[in-house]
């Protein structure tokens, strides 16, 4: 009797829910179409959303200072929020077509932007004509352009580099020359020597974050999805297979130290427990925070996949770009702001090198004065010039719609392969799981 009653209530509840869902869908289309025509184009104040006070937010503030000299009448504010929070808020607002309180300009991570462009057509403003794509590194354009349309302003480079401790490698018998033009196979060999002679690990690996595999895969111009951004590309992805094999070798050969999260990843090199850090250039500021290691670090290009002909000594990890929201009042003013600052201003980029150690994706940046400075911490190396050079060599891939969804599945697959599961079979499984998840 009781069970029957509960069942009835449950069914009733489900019915109500689904009815609510249907009516939501209907309204959604209507309201977003309506307001896209109503949005006003200019405004005397702008809002920017970005994350990271010491990096993106600081960059926006400097840009605002530059813009204030040109357009003192336009007031620009930057709001600092966590990246996940920005995603959450944008999703809630754009899916309901509620534009109150949304920013004019927002920073979105490169891995995610395709999802926004596809899920919310007409919400992100096309910047063709205001932003010249030819000024930027090719790899940054792949995911924000559609034929000859461009939707964003590329910002920071996530160019990868191999940061290494010269003192530890010397102890193991390697000079700086040995670190140039490496393959991952050779890297593992060096790692074994380092482990044997110094007892230190070559690098840290975090089983819950397979950024390392993304780095290797992109160095060969491949991604979790094919060129079209939608077709899952796992089981026949040779670069991915090579990358997973290297990853497994790094674990099996004992040259890696396992860490559990970002905190212990940063802690490991700050405590001097690892000989190298293969990561995005943005990790440089965390490395430099360990002042007692001054002069002991150097930077080399990231190793390439020795078995893969397409793989080069350059790749990318992370990075984000600026976008304008079409339906928030002041879209044109926002475009003007970006065009005057991040899309063109070399002086701004030069300042940002010293202020936040920005590696810009503007091609002209490599010529800037601050890029040519020798960096004392890295033994006098002109690291920014190197970063800028390598940025131009990053193979362009389309990150597509589902980077993080596929990555969740791949993280698990990689762990079982490391534990000894058959690679072909596991990747086959991962492929079908991913297809089901994103289909």
């Amino acid at each position: 009797m009781k069970a029957k009653r509960i069942l009835a209530a449950l069914l009733g509840g489900i019915m109500m829910l689904s009815m609510a869902a249907c009516s939501n869908d209907g309204k959604n289309e209507g309201s977003s179409a309506g307001s896209s025509q109503a949005g006003e184009e200019t405004a005397d104040s702008l809002t920017i959303w970005a994350w990271d006070d010491t990096f993106n937010v600081a960059a926006a503030k400097t840009a605002i200072k530059y813009y204030a000299e040109k357009e003192p009448d336009v007031k620009v504010n930057v709001v600092s929020m966590a990246q996940d929070d920005i995603i959450q808020k944008l999703n809630a607002a754009l899916s309901t077509g509620t534009y109150d309180g949304l920013p004019n300009i927002t920073l979105i991570e490169d891995y995610r932007i395709q999802n926004f462009l596809t899920s919310y057509p007409g919400e992100i403003k096309e910047l063709t004509g205001s932003v010249d794509p030819s000024k930027f590194a090719d790899y940054k354009l792949k995911f924000m352009t559609d034929v000859d349309k461009i939707y964003g302003v590329p910002f920071d480079s996530g160019v990868t580099a191999l940061f290494y401790r010269t003192d530890i490698l010397e102890e193991a018998g390697y000079q700086e020359d040995d670190m140039e033009d490496l393959t991952w196979e050779k890297y593992i060999e060096i790692g074994k020597a380092v482990k044997e002679k110094t007892g230190k690990a070559m690098l840290t690996l975090d089983p819950s974050d397979i950024g390392q595999i993304r780095i290797m895969m992109q160095s060969a111009g491949e991604w979790y999805v094919k060129e079209d951004g939608e077709t899952v590309n796992i089981k026949d992805n040779q670069a991915l297979k090579d990358a997973v094999a290297i990853y497994k070798e790094m674990v099996d050969s004992g040259i890696s130290k396992q860490v559990a999260d970002w905190d212990s990843f940063v802690g490991a090199f700050q405590k001097g427990e690892v000989a190298t850090v293969p990561s995005g250039c943005w990790i440089a500021s965390s490395i430099r925070a360990a002042e007692d290691q001054n002069g002991k670090w150097a930077v080399a290009p990231i190793p390439r996949l020795g078995n893969n002909e397409k793989s080069v000594n350059s790749s990318n990890l992370g990075g984000a770009s600026w976008y304008v929201l079409e339906n928030v009042k002041g879209a044109d003013t926002a475009v003007k702001f970006l065009a005057e600052t991040f899309a063109s201003n070399d002086d701004l980029m030069n300042d940002l090198v010293s202020e936040i150690s920005l590696v810009s994706t503007l091609k002209s940046a490599g010529e800037l004065e601050n890029y040519k400075k020798e960096n004392e911490f890295f033994g006098g190396q002109k690291v920014f010039e190197d970063f800028a050079d390598w940025t131009e060599q990053i193979p362009a891939v389309n990150y597509g719609l589902h980077t993080y969804a596929v990555e969740d599945i791949m993280t698990e697959a990689v762990q079982s392969i490391v534990k000894g599961a058959d690679m072909e079979k596991t990747l086959q499984n991962a492929q079908s799981q991913a297809e089901a998840a994103v289909g």
């Binding site: 829910l17 010491t54 990096f55 309901t96 509620t98 109150d100 940063v266 700050q270």
Partner: protein, 278 residues
């Protein structure tokens, strides 16, 4: 005798280990707030003298930490008072007044506990968003009431009050009615003072939930001046190079109010969770 002593020694050893595990995160948090970021990542376990510096950086940052403390306090206090009033009235009513539909209604109410908040989020957002174009703007998105209202009546609290009302002596009600006391007066003058322990337990739970609430304030509040503490802490946390000392300092300060509320009401809390009238 020896056996008993050994058993006791093991018991204390076990309790020591368990309490160490539960207290360590707090210890680590407080130590972390007195150190520089690099010492935190290096795992330094001794207090440093950077607390004031961390505090100054926190107060000087544009995050508006003090403002967020005030917002959180207003939201948490108002939510607690209103939620307790509404839910206790409902729980009391469900138990005291009889009707045919009562249990059916109650099971539907309990079912609503199974709907995760993420499923309600978008409809709620749309609802409060639509108020923005009406005179009800003052409770629309980006206002403190928009955060308070959806959390005022929760199935859990109503259930909690109803359960505790079961042990409330009904004879008193009869006596009061005979003496001519109105139903509302009975509630406020007799029920409320008797159930203080239940209210205390409910107050702690509601205050903590409201103070730590993250998802709904995140999407409902837009401008920086309306933000609550968890939102500010979240903003401090994502960065290529997080300042762990600063984050720990913010968390220590954010933990104080809930700790305070808990310790003040601790005595009642235990009694309330066990059932108030013995």
């Amino acid at each position: 005798m020896g056996k008993k002593r050994l058993a006791r020694a093991f018991k204390y050893l076990w309790l020591t280990v368990v309490s160490f595990i539960s207290v360590f995160p707090f210890f680590w948090m407080i130590i972390g707030s007195t150190n520089r970021s690099i010492d935190v990542t290096r795992g330094k376990l001794t207090p440093g003298n950077y607390f004031m510096e961390n505090l100054n950086t926190l107060l000087a940052s544009d995050q508006g930490f003090l403002r967020s403390l005030l917002n959180s306090a207003v939201i948490a206090v108002l939510t607690t008072i209103l939620a307790l009033l509404i839910s206790s009235l409902a729980g009391y009513g469900f138990e005291i007044f009889r009707s045919k539909a009562r249990d059916r209604l109650f099971s539907v109410l309990l079912l609503s506990m199974m709907v995760p908040f993420s499923a309600l989020m978008i409809p709620l957002y749309r609802f409060f968003g639509s108020l923005g174009k009406t005179p009800l703007k003052i409770i629309g998105l980006n206002t403190l009431p928009s955060v308070i209202i959806p959390t005022l009546s929760t199935a859990f609290l109503i259930f909690f009050f109803r359960q505790n009302t079961k042990s409330f002596p009904k004879d008193i009600l009869e006596a009061a009615r005979m003496d001519g006391l109105g139903e509302l007066a009975i509630f406020f003058q007799i029920y409320f003072p008797t159930m203080k322990a239940t209210y205390a337990a409910a107050a702690i739970i509601t205050f903590m939930n409201s103070w730590n609430n993250y998802l709904w304030p995140l999407i409902a509040l837009q401008t920086p001046d309306k933000r609550t503490v968890p939102l500010v802490i979240s903003a401090l946390g994502t960065s290529y190079t997080p300042d762990y000392g600063l984050i720990m300092t913010a968390i220590v300060i954010a933990t104080l109010p809930t700790a305070l509320v808990f310790f003040v009401m601790q005595k009642h809390f235990v009694a309330g969770m066990l059932g108030s009238v013995k």
